[in-house]
Symmetry: C2
Subunit: 548 residues, 2 copies
């Protein structure tokens, strides 16, 4: 083994740095400190692989594949070597006051696994491979060719009122008839699916797994089944479709876009077959310091209704990219500087403004997708997490939007009508307590209610609460109740009519609770051994039309 072999990355970096310095440029501290690994622990290949999977499953979402930090702090090996293994193990098991879950306390990791992870974090982060079209196509399967699919729906359900439900830990998705509450079909999906999205006609439902596997289900089929699938990332969170039809072309049900966490890129797919068509790298510079980031992840994708465009939030760089899909070979986009660590967001009521959380900056950023520019950003509370958000007419302030928060039990309401109510636009107008730190809120134009969960509340019971606000009497505060005695309450979705609200009991032995939105009475509890860890759910009509 030669000297070079042993020098490893540190030496390569140091030598690169030496060239730069000898050429007279003052460069920031780069690369790996010499001897940083002197105290590093040793893991067998099998242990390393186990730890790598646990990291992917539990840690990378917040800390990043390369451990450079995002929603959670940077936890690279140099930083971790400054801490004792026992302290690291404790943090992993018990969590932190800053919001990190205690993975031991939640029952997700054993003490031995926490110990394993403490060692893993003191070793350099392995760099996963890239994925290009060739690798993606190797995984691509069309299970039912377009020509063999039915010309019209083969059942009597109202597709517009069907619901897709994530069965997270089962790696499956369920399709439920919104009228009868009947289970229509269960399909295989990727690992720990994050979201569903409906195609522009509502015929197809797309799912994206944490493992980067995207599937599409044909709701026209007698028993809706997966008609195509592909794996286009090693880690992913988002998918959306092309929704534009107008002077610039007809893109209805034409494309899907998957946003990857790793590799840091987005992938355009054929909307009918999931054939991977085009890869758009997100590796780029941060919006503020203009320094290169090796892992800018696609946080959220929202499809524009007024332009052939996807609105794509790039987490680490704090940029929103408007990606025009009308000509993939001559692809135009606008890259808009907003705020760092973008997470989730959605439209205002007019579908002109994207309201997106920069949750590690406690801010909501506003992007004007018509003028294609940044509007403003403002503070709300500790780690805003709007999901896609909630829009309604406030009797005092006019059109408003709102967010819940990961870091505190707070709903914050802000003006979102710069044309009609410029004096209130993008200003915080109301703040009310919810049941606890939560993930989602939801409303519907036909409803007087705004629903909030408290999924992240630390104490059992608290996280089983639902709190509902009245639009016409918001100051009165929430009407809250405990909706289940097991699992956690997470996520709401209205039916098409806007008179029913569906929520999930997130538990191995899960449940969907359907409420009458007017009376807040339970209309139906959907149960069954197939209801394994339900989380997000999407009504076809509301998803197609971005009703929230």
């Amino acid at each position: 083994m030669s000297e070079r072999t042993r020098t490893s990355r540190q030496r390569l970096f140091a030598r690169g740095l030496a060239l730069a310095l000898s050429a007279g440029v003052a460069l920031a501290s780069l690369g790996l400190a010499a001897g940083a690994f002197a105290a590093a622990p040793t893991l067998s290949d099998e242990q390393f692989k186990d730890a790598q999977f646990i990291y992917f499953d539990r840690c990378s979402g917040c800390h990043g594949t390369l451990r450079k930090g995002a929603t959670g702090p940077a936890i690279n090996d140099e930083e971790m070597l400054k801490q004792k293994l026992s302290k690291l193990e404790e943090t992993i098991f018990e969590g932190t006051d800053a919001g990190m879950p205690g993975w031991g306390r939640t029952g997700d990791l054993t003490q031995d696994q926490a110990k394993l992870m403490s060692k893993f974090l003191q070793l350099p982060a392995p760099i996963p491979p890239e994925m290009g079209l060739k690798e993606m196509k190797a995984s691509w399967k069309v299970k039912v060719p377009v020509a063999e699919r039915p010309k019209k729906q083969q059942h009597d359900y109202d597709i517009d009122n069907m619901f897709g439900v994530i069965l997270r830990d089962a790696g499956k998705g369920a399709f439920i008839d919104g009228d009868s509450k009947e289970l229509v079909s269960i399909v295989d999906t990727g690992y720990a699916v994050h979201i569903f999205r409906a195609s522009a006609t509502g015929r197809y439902f797309y799912t994206i797994g944490r493992d980067g596997k995207v599937t599409m289900t044909d709701l026209y089929a007698k028993k809706p089944a997966v008609v195509a699938e592909a794996r286009v990332c090693l880690d992913a969170r988002s998918v959306d479709v092309s929704k534009y039809k107008g002077p610039k072309g007809d893109f209805i049900d034409k494309y899907a876009l998957v946003g990857c966490y790793w590799p840091p890129q987005m992938v355009v797919l054929d909307g009918q077959t999931l054939e991977p068509l085009k890869v758009i790298s997100t590796r780029s510079s941060t919006y503020d310091t203009n320094e290169y980031h090796p892992e800018p992840r696609v946080a959220t994708i929202v499809a524009s209704h007024h332009d052939p465009e996807w609105v794509v939030a790039i987490k680490e760089t704090g940029m929103v990219w408007l990606v025009d899909y009308s000509d993939l070979d001559n692809l135009s986009m606008t890259q808009i500087a907003t705020e760092r660590f973008l997470h989730d967001g959605g439209w205002d009521a007019t579908k002109r403004y994207l309201l997106i959380a920069a949750n590690m900056r406690d801010q909501i950023a506003v992007v004007d997708t018509k003028e294609k520019k940044f509007v403003t950003k403002f503070e709300t509370g500790v780690k805003p997490h709007p999901g896609r958000g909630a829009n309604w007419d406030d009797p005092k302030y006019g059109p408003v939007s709102a967010t819940t928060h990961l870091g505190e039990g707070l709903i914050v309401v802000y003006g979102s009508d710069p044309a009609g109510h410029p004096e209130h636009a993008w200003k915080v107008l109301r703040e009310e307590e919810t049941g606890g730190p939560g993930l989602f809120l939801k409303t519907h134009p036909n409803s007087n209610h705004v629903w909030t969960d408290a999924t992240l509340a630390k104490d059992e019971g608290d996280n089983q609460q639902i709190c509902v606000f009245k639009k016409d009497d918001f100051d009165a505060g929430a009407n809250c109740w405990q909706a289940t005695d097991r699992g956690k309450i997470v996520h709401f979705e209205y039916n098409k009519a806007g008179d029913e609200v569906w929520t999930a009991v997130w538990d191995k032995d899960g449940e969907i609770i359907v409420y009458d939105d007017k009376t807040l009475e339970v209309k139906k509890r959907i149960k069954g051994d197939w209801l394994v860890s339900p989380t997000g759910k999407w009504n076809v009509y509301n998803t197609v039309h971005d009703v929230y």
Copy 2:
């Protein structure tokens, strides 16, 4: 030293790969073969550093910083370990028939240096550091603040007819009065400057060094001097300015854009002070296979006259990016798929079409910058190298453009008037022999001549030739003569009137030869001990207005 320390990059890659494979995706061969370094040679840090600089200076331009290949083939360590050191040393010293210079034969490298480089190539390529705004600003110097600069020119020279000349090996630039041929001033530049560009008014001249140092010289000053400089890359080739004034704003003398080879990015600078403003990464996927490329280099930048836009050729990915500079915080661009390994190019006569060489594909690609889309590509000869090109009216075919070639002594003429002569547009119309493989050709609307060099001809004498074609009798072939008995002839530039042609004797003891364009007689030989290795030269008016 722990086990992990010794595992080095191979192991990290292998582990990343294992995760990917275990997740069920067939991935292409990635990372480094196990044991690839078993036979790798050993270099001391000092030897490594010397070799690294030689690589930067002589090799990286064609083979890439990461040695993945471009104009030259991939020469990564795995490939190089398959060859004997003695064979590698011979290739480095003697060159190849495929066009690689024999660096020993040219006198640039000693036998010991060729031996050193053979070993260096069998070691993994070191990865140079990144550069963000912070590092760039550390090197940024405003030597004469804007407020202290003269309001009008302080001399009687006609700025429009001044010439900037690269003094390559001296790390300097000379400014020469085009009327009197008098040396006006010599300024310090970066290392081995590649090009000069004039600001839109012609007042400022920008230079870009191979070391990424950009300078600007104020031609209004009595003795034009560098008024600002910054180092914004570790390796660079291109710079251009903002030239647009119209309904979308006045950007005259407002910005400069530097194109980097490493880090792979472009940098927007204030046109008055060279303050680095914005970094745009070019790391992205190839146009065809859509696989991630870690080092897509900025080959050429051309400023649009009809839009606030830079046309930027990204070499390795085969993309042309139209970068709109009218709103840097909401930056829009169009990324156009063309052909791989883009190199140099320029406008057609109307300044609507970019004609750009994909020289490793023996092709010219055409981009329509008004419609913002790819038009076509077509073969010309072995490694076309148009510089910025040459445009004229052919008596038979109408408006045409032309290129010389690195790989053969050939000028190829093609139609470039799709509106007036669609039957000839983007078709090869004429082919004539030149004096040998060359770098540049040049003409002027007021001239009947097209000038070509043969700088890359292998035999001394041949590379000292000039060949001139007549537009009105192209079929007659070239009038060629040997213009010097030392050095090489390289590059042509017309004066503003278009009745004089300047060329350089590229030699330590260099010379500028000024020809009467009508008679082809020598009008003047500009000499002086300051004329060290002159190469490119730019007339202010012709550079501002893209007259070629």
